[in-house]
Symmetry: none
Subunit: 226 residues, 2 copies
Amino acid sequence: MKLLIVEDQARTGQYLSQGLSEAGFATELAADGETGQHLALSGDHDLLILDVMLPGRNGWQILQAVRQAGLDTPVLFLTARDAVEDRVHGLELGADDYLVKPFAFSELLARVRSLLRRGASPSLDTTLSLADLRLDLIRRRAERAGQRIDLTAKEFALLELLLRRQGEVLPKSLIASQVWDMNFDSDTNVIEVAIRRLRLKIDDPHANKLIHTVRGMGYVLEERQD
Amino acid sequence: MKLLIVEDQARTGQYLSQGLSEAGFATELAADGETGQHLALSGDHDLLILDVMLPGRNGWQILQAVRQAGLDTPVLFLTARDAVEDRVHGLELGADDYLVKPFAFSELLARVRSLLRRGASPSLDTTLSLADLRLDLIRRRAERAGQRIDLTAKEFALLELLLRRQGEVLPKSLIASQVWDMNFDSDTNVIEVAIRRLRLKIDDPHANKLIHTVRGMGYVLEERQD
DNA sequence: AACTACCTGACAGGAAGATTACAACTTTGT
DNA sequence: ACAAAGTTGTAATCTTCCTGTCAGGTAGTT
């Protein structure tokens, strides 16, 4: 299993490479877009990990070139937080998954393994779901019990985070760092308000609620019978 | 084996550094967040010991930077008492373990050894258990005999302490310092009440009790046959 | 029995979150 | 370019329920 990592920040690239090597993958590392694309087109990688922001050619361009060349290598995108458009764009161009920086290495590893497991199949999984709730990552739209729900950027980001980590109690500090670019030292209630707005759309019209408050801690997305 | 300690309080840092040196580890000590992060990112440590409260950059930020750089160095967090959110946040970001100040040096040593033994594997165990009682630190929920039990913040903190130190008799003074931010000089019975409330949820509905009172000493969590 | 340590149920203050309204700012359409 | 509609953060108020206190009660110890 050989992975290509295209990442311009030397340190980041180095550690991705090292970490994945230790996890048992062969890795190749490109520090800029041109060489990255060149290597990617060689076609002998099982997975591409592309940073979006790159000198030379950006991640999208590489992805596009790869797909144009008829390669269906799975692609994992590394994107900045809050850049929803980037992600959607990436998925539209045929990326298979993406990760928002900063991320835990363990999560990267999980995604990498998942992508490799389901092979280079073009069955790109662009929806997340729980119970009768579904989230379409590309159309940026949710659906509950067949009913379509349009979401705003923030609502989308929040729901996506909740869905990806369903069952886990997400501290507000974590939510703040993933969905907003803040360290949660400020005394704001944006998160509560955002949750309220999300609930209004996905929970309020239905009997079994999915978003639950854990007082003093944060929020969970999960199905509860009672 | 080289350890990096990031701790701003000179005395504490000194103490840790010296103690760990004597235990046979090579140690490096940083007194503020910036130098700490800089050193941490060099990647040539086998374990990081991070204080949460730091001038410059706090422990989380360092951890985040480290994980973002793809390093999976084990991280042991030193957090203030009563900061439940801190701990969970740390675990979410990829810390492997944490210790609540003040702590016994022996315990620090035990954790350090355990972390080094299980290597840089991200196998951080997020659940504690005893008999048919389980506590999931991420989902932030207890379970007894399959039955789910919701806990409040204080109950959770208390049960976590008891579980981490199962079999030990914990003096009330210790409990007071770990779960509350108090020196236990005051004449309050918060602890008794808190224990009562915890018992109500985890012991009262079951035959074999796990929380035991040791008159004049404190409380233990353990299984007793008779 | 007396003393002490701990248990128990009730209560109230207050902290955490929910909800609503509003204003600043963007986007969209004409 | 202007108006209308939509999005998002801030702030004020309301609601919920957690948690410390207190006033007895109970059980262990001498």
